[in-house]
Amino acid sequence: MSNITNRTTETVMRVLVVEDDDIVAEIVANALSAFGYDVAIATDGRKAFELLRTGEYRLVLSDWEMPEMNGVELCRQIRERHWSSYIYVILLTSHSGVDNTILGLEAGADDFLTKPFQPQELRLRLRVGERILALENRDLTVFALAKVAESRDEQTGAHLERIREYCRILADELSHHKDYCDTIDGEYVHLVYLTSPLHDIGKVGIPDKVLLKPGRLTPEEFEVMKQHAMIGAETLAAAAKAHPEAHFLGMAREIAMTHHEWYDGSGYPCGLAGKDIPLCGRITMLADVYDALTSARVYKPAYSHETAKAMIVKGSGTQFDPDVVDAFLRREDDFQAVRRKTDAATSEGHAAAATIAPPISIPEPSSPQPVL
């Protein structure tokens, strides 16, 4: 028996093989099973489509020529229907030539495998499909996790949506800076956008009596609250270790851990200073503070953009990286546009809710509270 690595993940990927030739089907199924996949076989496109409707298959390996419905038509029908998640289709074919490739791609095929197939190539092409399918899950999962963490405390609506937009704007602006143009590319900007919502995920580990306290925190309570940075970092580090292929978790960990580090070293949890603070942390720090300043809290009203800007400029070099502050100043119009857009969306939501439920009275804050 050749050396085949068994899959160790608990979730076994199911593959639907669509092939009317039982010889080819059996050899393909043998290879897929050996690679750790769970295999089902349909003998024509129509039967395959019915199996796909069960929602159990996201990877399809289909022959081209088949009775009832051929592989190209199956592809077309898959793409015409709305599914709960993406279905990755590989066409297994002896048809060669650019024209046939175009035909298959136009019908919606994601990849091709030429008959007679080579097991190793089959395995690698399926792995490509798995990576594509994993990407679809990633973005949804990250934001959902962040939303769960946010739901416990009293952040105003759309906080995470604004944070990621602010971070994206800052990263984009810094990508034109001579000191950062080698670090920040489109992928970096997207990663910051994707992972910055996880900055406060550690708050799930903070007791309600501290997290939800409306008034000023005592020094002891503040020490408890500060732990959210390390809790978040440790949680994300554990996830990154379990899933080394999920590189985005590395940036998420850095942001969770360093978004309260001050540029002058007086922040927490580690007292990092200057450029020792990861850039993504420096970016998220400013975005988070700006949003806190321009949002209403139980203990304070929402400050205007000008007020928030003045406070951020005052903190340049102490709390904030001067480069990030400069980027903010160059893009302040975009920041205000994000705020207006989310406020408008929130108002529409509230207006719709008001027609359904009676208004809720909010108690007046007992005394003014510090923001930063």
């Binding site: 010889i23 050899i27 290879a31 020529e65 008959k115 097991p119």
Partner: protein, 123 residues
């Protein structure tokens, strides 16, 4: 494609099939038995289709046999079936009887090769 060109290809690439079956010898034996049976069925069906002049059936069956023989590493049968598929797809039915005789010869050679290998040789 004439016989001498067909003769340049091996009849059967045993190692290729073993590799494709991931060294599963039971599967190899099962596939070879199925293929021999399939060959006879497809040959009869194509002969019948030549008699009725049904090019579409010949194309379909030849294509299917070509795929199965390629997967089974029955190289010369693959080539012979491919030639029949091409002729039938162009409507050249009068040239197919000769190609079917070639296919018959390749089928016989394949069975003889398997017999010589003993079907279990190399374990």
């Amino acid at each position: 494609m004439n016989s001498s060109l067909l003769g340049e290809s091996p009849v059967f690439n045993q190692q290729e099939l073993i590799s494709r079956c991931l060294d599963n010898w039971e599967l190899v034996d099962r596939i070879l038995a199925k293929f021999l049976s399939r060959f006879e069925e497809d040959f009869v069906e194509m002969n019948r289709a030549v008699t009725t002049g049904d090019a579409q059936i010949i194309v379909r069956v030849a294509h299917r046999l070509k795929g199965a023989s390629a997967t089974t590493a029955a190289i010369r049968i693959r080539d012979a079936a491919g030639r029949i598929e091409e002729l039938a797809s162009h409507g050249l039915l009068n040239e197919i009887p000769d190609r079917l005789r070639e296919l018959r010869q390749e089928g016989n050679r394949f069975a003889e090769t398997l017999a010589a290998l003993g079907a279990t040789a190399g374990r």
